[in-house]
Amino acid sequence: MKNFFKIFSFIILFSGLSLNTQAAEKVEYLKTDWSFKGLFGKFDRAALQRGYQVYTEVCSSCHSMKYLSYRNLAEKGGPEFSIDQVKAIAASFEVKDGPNSDGDMFTRPGRLSDKFVMPYDNVQAAQAANGGAYPPDMSVLVKARGGGVDYIYSLLQGYEDPPAGVTLDDGVYYNKYMYGNKIKMANQLSDGLVEYSDGTTASVEQMSKDVTTFLMWSAEPHLESRHRMGFKAIVYLIILTILVYFSMKRIWSRIETEV
């Protein structure tokens, strides 16, 4: 048994080390405290609401979020706006619907069940409007990037003047956290860009953190219930394991062999 654990932990350690060395080759990302990390990690409700505000006022003019519906904004574990607030949010968007009984397409105010309205009709339109670059859909963006939330958080604050010797084409910007350092999205955030309704100062750092928190939620809307259930499941398993261990000892005591 002792041997078994020794070898097992060696292998775990080895795989842990190799993961770490892979991470060490990349740039150090900016660090911040994420409330949703850890065994009991939960989203900061106010940060999610502010993050949604940043998304709508800044990001959403280019980036879609096609897997989100307005109803999600009121659901448990999310920004938890009240139903009336979300109805008002949804109604503030024009949604294309149809065909009606005359066979015509029409627009109407959004409803809870509608998906987030897309900024462009299709990928080609998005590319045409953005110098050939497609602003990626942001629904699962933090899971689609190696560095996750730390990467997005850093990228939003990583705009710099290019170092000497680096020439940038028109519409290309320098970002020290971007893969290859060249990015087609201009710096979007500046201090005081949005006016937070809860009075928080809208610094670049604050907005980056809020919108990244919002993106984490949009990628993992069930994160809170996952953490809650995980804790219960693991505690349950540990107790059961201890009980089974003693039963095993009892049963094996009938014969002289150690278990």
Partner: protein
């Protein structure tokens, strides 16, 4: 095998059992005499059965919500993650379950290598195991394609393209596999069909695997043949059932940790980007459990030979019972083999590591050396060791080895010569 004839007590039981001896089978399974000195490395058979059942059950539920269509697959996975009740749980169990399955199977295989469980009379168990392992790799690869992310698409492209290395008919085979001239919707639908089929093939082979095991009975850490039943054995129930159960619960704690707290760490971020035939990812890497073979594939400069090397690396295992010429099963009594065993473990871990790295410079060199050593181990070291190695005296019975009775050298030698 229990020697006594089993007769059900109830009248109905007897009537039924005479027509279909299910009760005899159940009785055989509970009474099955098992060596009493099995250590925790032997619990992974039960754990693997659990993994297979988990994958089949979660897979069935996922298949009810998943849509195997190039335009809808990615969306349907997100639908599962967001809108299906506990869909996220089912999917994360299934995705991490694949990794847990491979973790367990690697421990199971390396346990067999250490204790010589593949040797006579257990060659058929071993070969069925290798076929199961091959099918597992196929199922895992096909399953990884289904979410239709970037790694799905490009992984499928790279792996199916390996068939183009076959002379003359290669290109034709690839087109046939794809159902077109590139990986596309026809590829996805057939991959889904095969992904659904293979677990049931594995299930059938697992039954054969266990059947074949129950003929000679379990090997054990001492690696000697034992009389069954005897004071060296315990009935499978309750002794082994409770011990397997305890080990399974510990395994489930690790499993649960991955599912609930780091569900995506074993996957690749690029697979959350929808498949795009026009954009190739910077590094195309398979899942961690295929990395050693990926390293072997890339360490050979020629495409065809690389594929041959990769396949040989797996198929060579099937010949293991005949490549290992030693009469002694357990590495406990083989001081030299024991050292080479750990070198092989390190070699495979190194192969896995360089498999994840770009195939260039030092990584490529290390991969080549490690690949060469892998084959050297099986083709040269093992046969020669069997002939040259001075083994330690083996005990006559498990009880003797446990109670520390001094092994009777003369009788052990005698027994060894009988084995020859």
């Amino acid at each position: 095998m229990s020697d006594h004839e089993y007769t059900p007590k109830s009248k109905f039981g007897k009537w039924f059992n005479d027509r279909l001896p299910l009760l005899t089978l159940a009785n055989h399974l509970t009474d099955y005499p098992t060596p009493k000195n099995l250590n925790y490395w032997w619990t992974f058979g039960g754990i693997l059965t659990f993994c297979l059942i988990t994958q089949i059950v979660t897979g069935l539920v996922l298949a009810m919500h998943y849509i195997a269509h190039a335009d809808m697959a990615f969306d349907s996975v997100e639908h599962i993650m967001r809108d299906v009740n506990y869909g996220w749980l089912i999917r994360y169990i299934h995705a991490n379950g694949a990794s847990m399955f491979f973790l367990a199977v690697y421990i199971h295989i390396f346990r067999s290598l250490f204790y010589g469980s593949y040797k006579a009379p257990r060659e058929i168990i071993w070969i069925i195991g290798i076929i199961i392992y091959l099918l597992m790799m196929a199922a895992a690869f096909l399953g990884y394609v289904l979410p239709w992310g970037q790694m799905s698409f490009w992984g499928a492209t790279v792996i199916t393209n390996l068939f183009s290395a076959i002379p003359l008919v290669g290109e034709g085979i690839v087109t046939w596999l794809w159902g077109g001239y590139s990986v596309d919707n026809p590829t996805l639908t057939r991959f889904f069909t095969l992904h659904y089929l293979i677990p049931f093939l594995i299930l059938g082979l697992v039954v054969l695997h266990i059947w074949a095991l129950h003929v000679p009975g379990n090997n054990n850490p001492v690696g000697i043949d034992i009389k069954k039943p005897s004071k060296d054995t315990v009935p499978f129930h309750p002794y082994i059932v409770i011990k397997d159960g305890f080990a399974l619960l510990m395994f489930m704690i690790v499993f649960a940790f991955f599912v609930f707290y780091t569900p995506n760490i074993l996957g690749h971020a690029d697979n959350y980007i929808e498949a795009n035939p026009l954009v190739t990812p910077a590094h195309i890497v398979p899942e961690w459990y295929l990395l050693p073979f990926y390293a072997i594939l890339r360490s050979v400069p020629d495409k065809l030979l690389g594929v041959v090397a990769m396949l040989s690396a797996i198929l060579i295992l099937a010949a293991l019972p005949w490549l290992d010429t030693s009469k002694i099963r357990s590495a406990v009594f083989r001081p030299l083999y024991r050292q080479f065993y750990w070198i092989l473990v390190a070699d495979v871990l190194i192969l896995g590591y360089v498999g994840a790295m770009p195939a260039e410079g030092l990584y490529l060199l290390v991969a080549r050396v490690a690949t060469a050593y892998y084959f050297l181990h099986f083709l040269v070291i093992l046969p020669v060791l069997g002939w040259k190695e001075k083994t330690l005296p083996i005990p006559l019975s498990i009880t003797e080895s446990i109670l520390g009775g001094s092994p009777n050298l003369a009788t052990a030698k005698n027994r060894e010569s009988l084995n020859k």
